[in-house]
Symmetry: C2
Subunit: 205 residues, 2 copies
Amino acid sequence: MPNDSSKDGYHHGDLRNALLSAAEGLLVQHGPGGLSLREVARVAGVSHTAPYRHFSDKAALLQALARRGFERLHAAMTDAAAGVPHGPEQQLIAAGIACVRHAVNHAEITQLMFGGTLASTVDAAGDMSGRDAFAALQTIIESGISAGVFRQREPRELALVAWTSMHGLAMLMTAGLLEVDTGNPAALDQLVGSVASNVIYGIAR
Amino acid sequence: MPNDSSKDGYHHGDLRNALLSAAEGLLVQHGPGGLSLREVARVAGVSHTAPYRHFSDKAALLQALARRGFERLHAAMTDAAAGVPHGPEQQLIAAGIACVRHAVNHAEITQLMFGGTLASTVDAAGDMSGRDAFAALQTIIESGISAGVFRQREPRELALVAWTSMHGLAMLMTAGLLEVDTGNPAALDQLVGSVASNVIYGIAR
DNA sequence: ACCTGAACACCGTTCAAGT
DNA sequence: ACCTGAACACCGTTCAAGT
């Protein structure tokens, strides 16, 4: 049974990914914090010490999971913006919708990425932390400034409002602290669009 | 001997608060997730089963800690707004600064309040969840609408931009995902003020 | 009423040992 | 190289028992 004719994918280097997939499934089931390394190994069909061959730590496994999330988030946002050639405002709204949608569809991983659990570890890693997602927004802002549709300010400063508002919306929703029907995509898009357009045009006057 | 001359504070009903204080101290030291009920009891000087006389659960203790945080946050925001009679814009900025300051000064508790760890529990509780903090912002918005300085929209809709942007800023900072000198109060106030004023006046034009 | 100690079923992590 | 089982020091929670 160890040397079977059909390569089942485990047992020759794929274990790392099998562990990550198992961890992601359990994370969705039990929520962050309710994840045990031993159970991950159990689901993956290996002994509870096997994961240490691929991850130095439980934190390292969670970090790898978070990294995946950051990459998906970034991809979702840039893809959304690229699909909208109607100018920076619409691109910003599209990126915002993509950001919040990703958060709602991957609530547990979002909490893992931005929740404090990994804070010190992420801090140590330094190279992820949603920097790319922020950069994606800043790029849109810069093109908007050039086009004369956004204020002539530090792009970083304007991007920060967009980023914090979308991030705050995403976190409140994934934590279940905002009464909104996350199951209804249209309602969600409308809500995000409303926040984004208020960011763009301001609440004053 | 229950009525001793020296009331040491423990052992007659104060244990609940002693446990909460101990938990808060350990939370700051070890971060959320690194908190063990047994260690809380140890620090409080009681056996590791004593806490169950006051909290049904570890989650219940954390929830009580979070509730304290929500109350402090709400108080800080309303106090800040009340101290500024210069009109709704300045009140909004003051409330925002108070919100982020509270988050930075109580980073671990903030992560506990809004992080996903307690999500299901908070959801079950329902009566906290930062509703008061949001309501405080909405009150300022309403007075601003009446005074004609804010747009004539649903107050809830305008308050949501302010709330999400401040919340997002607070979460990014407490998670250590925003390069900013949290030790410098002036720089922090300036940053929050910048975000708040961009929320008010918009990034467009 | 309030607190205790022993007990149970779990963890994360380490390490000598197997193949 | 990769994986294992036993072992260690911890958990959260329960429960009969003490005062």
